[in-house]
């Protein structure tokens, strides 16, 4: 048997931190002095994946920019739960304008920074725009595409929880097929969200051939932080799409948020990868391949698939989508399998 490399830290690199790691190898979130860009007291639901993802991403971006960061935020859960007057949870310069314009607002901020730098500003201030899947793939799509196309120096982060959760769980173009939402009820001949619709924004971002596109989940913090930091090494438009489970909208237990994120990747339902200038450069390999049922079952939005007579055909279609992801984004480690 060949030995594992000696650099093995009790629990590998999967935990947030580890006392055995050298400080520079620890995650941002393990740091006692992490920014907590999104601070306590916000009004997100228990177990909110978006609140978690936002702190992960923005803290990492703060780390990468030496705290020289400004954020533009689309309307949505993240905005509503973080900044209801008279309290804000943000500890960074942050701006909310509208639902569909966060990328353009960010363009404006970045342009203003560019001019300020020309006029002598020393700080290399970077700009992040963020929004939910509705604000990104639907109403903000035009502004986002424009920002990509101009290659403005903005990192756009989409927190994808697969629906309009803030308004009461309606379907978005990121809602997965078969999922129950308030506007795709599990009734009629095709219960839940229909197959054959929806869009996968990361692929669209790649089509713009912007410098950097990545997907991530809140289950793999180190990967997420790595991608945010990597994104900050590029100038120009960058896009990171983070899967963030929503206990409310998914009908999942609040403590299962990370578990579901993990299962989304391990079943192939959500591909985790990186792309540069339109080409796939890296994909996170599935560690323990599981059938999609493992991911679907804990979520009430898919409960109609698992009744007395399970919707075998529908589950098979979802499995086929996962299999396609696995092929397309090379999610299996060829050497290991």
């Amino acid at each position: 048997m060949s030995f594992q490399p000696v650099k093995f830290y009790q629990t590998g690199t999967f935990t947030v931190g580890n006392r055995l790691l050298a400080p520079q190898e620890r995650s941002v979130q393990a740091n006692m002095e992490r920014t907590n860009s999104l601070n306590s007291g916000h009004r997100a639901c228990q177990g909110c994946g978006e609140a978690l993802g936002a702190r992960y991403a923005i803290d990492a971006a703060m780390h990468a920019t030496d705290n020289q960061l400004i954020a533009a935020n689309a309307t949505g859960c993240l905005e509503v739960f973080s900044t209801p007057y008279p309290e804000t949870s943000w500890q960074i310069p942050w701006m909310h304008s509208l639902f569909g314009n966060a990328p353009a607002v960010a363009t404006g901020i970045a342009a203003a920074i560019k001019i300020k730098r020309q006029k002598g500003l020393k700080d290399d201030v970077r700009v992040v725009a963020q929004g939910g899947d509705g604000g990104t793939t639907d109403i903000g799509f035009g502004c986002l595409s424009g920002m990509f196309e101009r290659n403005d120096d903005v990192l756009y982060i989409c927190y994808d929880n697969g629906g309009y959760m803030n308004t009461g769980v309606q379907r978005s173009s990121a809602t997965p097929p078969a999922a129950r939402t308030a506007t795709t009820m599990p009734v009629g001949p095709q219960p839940g969200n229909v197959f054959g619709q929806g869009k996968f924004m990361p692929a669209i971002a790649m089509a713009h051939e912007i410098p950097y596109v990545a997907t991530a989940t809140v289950a793999d913090l180190r990967d997420l932080e790595h991608k945010v930091k990597k994104a900050m090494t590029f100038r120009g438009a960058r896009y990171i799409h983070i899967l963030v489970p929503c206990p409310l909208g998914w009908g999942s237990a609040s403590q299962d948020t990370i578990k579901l994120s993990r299962l989304a990747k391990e079943t192939g339902m959500f591909p985790v990868f990186e792309a540069e200038y339109g080409e796939l450069t890296n994909s996170s390999k599935i560690r323990r391949l599981l059938p999609v049922e493992e991911y679907l079952r804990p979520q009430k939005r898919f409960a109609h698939l698992f009744g007395k007579s399970p919707a075998v055909a529908t589950i098979a279609r979802l499995q086929a989508l996962a299999d396609k992801n696995i092929r397309k984004y090379e999610m299996l480690d060829k050497e290991a399998n």
Partner: protein, 417 residues
Amino acid sequence: MLKQMEGSHAVAQAVALCRPEIICAYPISPQTHIVEGIGEMVKAGEIVNCEFINVESEFAAMSVAIGSSATGARTYTATASQGLLFMVEAVYNASGLGLPIVMTVANRAIGAPINIWNDHSDSISQRDSGWIQLFAETNQEALDLHIQAFKLAEELSLPVMICMDGFILTHAYERVDIPTQEQVDAFLPPYEPRQVLDTHAPVSIGAMVGPEAFTEVRYLAHEKQMQALELIPKMAEEFMAIFGRDSGGLVRPYRTEDAETIVIAMGSLLGTIKDTVDEMRDAGVKIGVLGITSFRPFPLDAVRQAIKHAKRVVVLEKTFAVGIGGILATDVRTAFFGIQMNAYTVIAGLGGRPITKTALHELFEKAGRDDLIPLTFLDLDWNVVNKQLARERQKRRSGPAAENILRDVSSTAAHIS
């Protein structure tokens, strides 16, 4: 320096002299020549430390402006008509957030039917958006108002919309006096934002405000516009001192001293009205004109002072509130509080319909005889209207009105088909 140039280019020059930092725009007639002019100057390096951003829509244009303004950059954009409507959500947002963006609206009708020609429907539709709206009478005034606009906007931390008539002003070549950079610099200090996205002093801009504070926020926005009522005349005086030119202000009375009839209007139309008034004065008619420069905030007191000795008021407006009539007229009437007076609303020049002195002579004479109905449509072709109405009475689904009318107006129809 006196120069012959197109109105759009005069505005572009004015904006350039204001040392803008971010210009973002999406093309729409008749605004295009303005931003083309500025874009060229930025690209040529004539405007330093300025970023020109070609955005993908007017919504994005205003959104980029919001972002850059909130980051402390002097920001300018321009639009017209449908473009203004397309950015409406962001227009309200900019004022709600108190961002001193300056925007030119090259006034143009709103469709459908689509129409590229001038009226004031676009700007007027945004009268409640919280923006300051200043209407230019001439290209010189348009140029001057832009310089004042930046100062006004930044002093109050409110966005300012400079409204100039599409084509009539934007595309008209006139002699204008282009100020020197020194003059503009003397008048307009560098932008010091009231709030700014600053990594060294972080704030959250754009909080969600509930019933507990929303009314107060709204009232404070109103209060700020009230401050503008005092600031605008002051600024015109300061402008006069530096540039030697009387430009801007709230209202612009012309031969109203002993006038029995006062015509109220906005924009380039005032020129035609003044010519007509001059001719009627020559004929002994006691008639005057009150030009409204500041439509928002609406100068109730100034209007009241100007008209209180008159017998009647004729509000001539290039806009139309379907279902009631005048919009400017309604605001003017608010100034009448406690004064009994006849006020006639005249809708004119919609979609670029020419307003001729002949028509005005006839109109004002009728007004002088108090022979006007409360709501008049200047030069309305009753023949066309009545035919369509008759057709509709006969047949419930008589087809699109616009096409039917085009068919009726045979000369136009011949040109098109």
